[in-house]
Amino acid sequence: MKIKKTLLALLLGSSAFLFAGSLGAQELPVIETAEVVEAVADAISFEDGYAAFMETPGAAFFTISNLWLLIAAALVFIMHLGFATVESGLGQAKNTVNILFKNVFIICMGILTYALCGFNAMYPGDAWSIGGFFAMGSWFDVTASVDLMTSEYADYTWYTDFIFQAMFAATAATIVSGAVAERVKLSSFMIFATLLVMFAYPITGSWQWGGGWLSEAGFYDFAGSSLVHAFGGFAALACVMVLGPRAGKYINGQIRPILGHSMPLATIGVFLLFLGWFGFNGGSVLNADPFLVSLVFVTTALAAAAGGLGAMFTSWLFLKKPDLSMALNGILAGLVGITAGADSIMPFYAILTGLIAGILVVFSIIFFDKVKIDDPVGAISVHGVCGIFGTLAVALFSDAAGFDIQLIGTLSVSAFAFIFSFVVFSILKVVMGVRVSPEEEAEGLDIGEHGQEAYPDFGSARTR
């Protein structure tokens, strides 16, 4: 299409020049020529323009890139199943329906609110409300045009752009869901999650990926160590601080662990997240560039593996036993850590990044437990702490960005997520309450909130 347009411009330009020349005018302003070209290009129907584009040599790479991004979007979708199983597995059996219900709600709500306003708020183009900081957003859909559905737009179509980013968006709320599990009031959580995904996530997203002030300042966050993970992690921290720990977790200054009910479910979830991360990072290349996509797959896998080993041996050395749930958190920590620099941190340093994240996450989980921040799944440590570390790792282990701007960027995003969540969740606490009653918490949220059981045919649940 570019060739076509150039030809048109030449033709029109020259004929206009001739025409103008015959009238005695010296020159025609360039802008006018461009407008004429646009007008003529618009006059060609989308079908004809699209068909013409698909005949060009560039259409092959475009098609492959577009397909890769759609596959990547589907892989990111699978991560939501991973989150659902990790959270269920690390929660108690009596809260399983409630945890699954929240995850089902988040993916449905996330996609729809992103269509409603999130996408255009995060990628405002020229439609900023406050330049570089905030855009209102609007309904995402467009009239199909050559500008939006061919390589005029990017190496993928407008629709691919939307669906790939929509799958990311719901992730932020899912991170919070794990941290507040087993005591949060369902209706309050649903309202909070909607506000977070609809308004807060696109704002910080627009600062970087939407071409806002962080992007102007040279910040680098390839696939979202800060924009997705630290954002979710610090939103989770704020909510847990407002909500308080689960009943019976901290008694007389002692930590009483509340055991997850299914390590198999938690493990399945982490493997699904690992799989999905190939789409999360690999798709963030934003085309099917063979070098970059393969590099990103390698750095992603290396960091995850190093994170897993780091957490395994850290827990073995410092906690006496090799703890499976820590090893699982370690894999996720490595993945979160490499996310900001998956395309710029080279393999050896990717291993180092993952390893540090895997060690860091174990001490972080122990620290938050010591200060009575009760996070059943370790979301604050995995996503918040390792999200910040991963963002800084870009400066430490690659030359994609400087340390100062990485620090400023990740702290800005984390602080915004924390403050937004603290304020909104506190208001919800005053207005409608954010916590279930102590009786309901003891009986389980499955019966209390849903009147259902996850495992009605097993054990004590049958003795009525």
């Binding site: 997850g260 827990s315 006496k320 703890d323 989980i365 370790g378």
Partner: protein
């Protein structure tokens, strides 16, 4: 009649059942239970925090037999359930006043 009530390690249940079948015991009731004796519980660790598990899983077997068979039954259980380590369990022998088979209304030793 005597009630022989044995609390054993769960993984010993099959061996005990076979030993009882060998001496002609035709029925028993088995319950999954939890408890501790002199061995107390043990320490476990989850995400860096230690906790003690006081109630360990055990299996309780209940069999009602003729007075004459009580010693033979408890001997069979003790022999089959023994590992020689702490936590092997206990056997109690308790007098039973009567027994009734619901299907036929038979009572006393005939009901066994």
């Amino acid at each position: 009649m005597k009630l022989v009530k044995a609390i054993i390690k769960p993984f010993k249940l099959e061996e005990v059942k076979e030993a009882l079948a060998d001496i002609g015991i035709e029925g028993m009731t088995v319950t999954e239970v939890k408890g501790f004796g002199r061995q107390k519980g043990h320490t476990e660790i989850y995400r860096g925090s230690e906790y003690t598990v006081d109630f360990l899983p055990k299996v309780m077997i209940e069999i009602v037999v003729d007075d004459a068979d009580a010693a033979k039954t408890s001997d069979a259980i003790v022999k089959a359930a023994k590992t020689g380590k702490i936590g092997d369990g206990k056997v109690f022998i308790i007098a039973v006043e009567n027994a009734i088979r619901i299907r036929t209304d038979e009572s006393g030793p005939e009901a066994l």
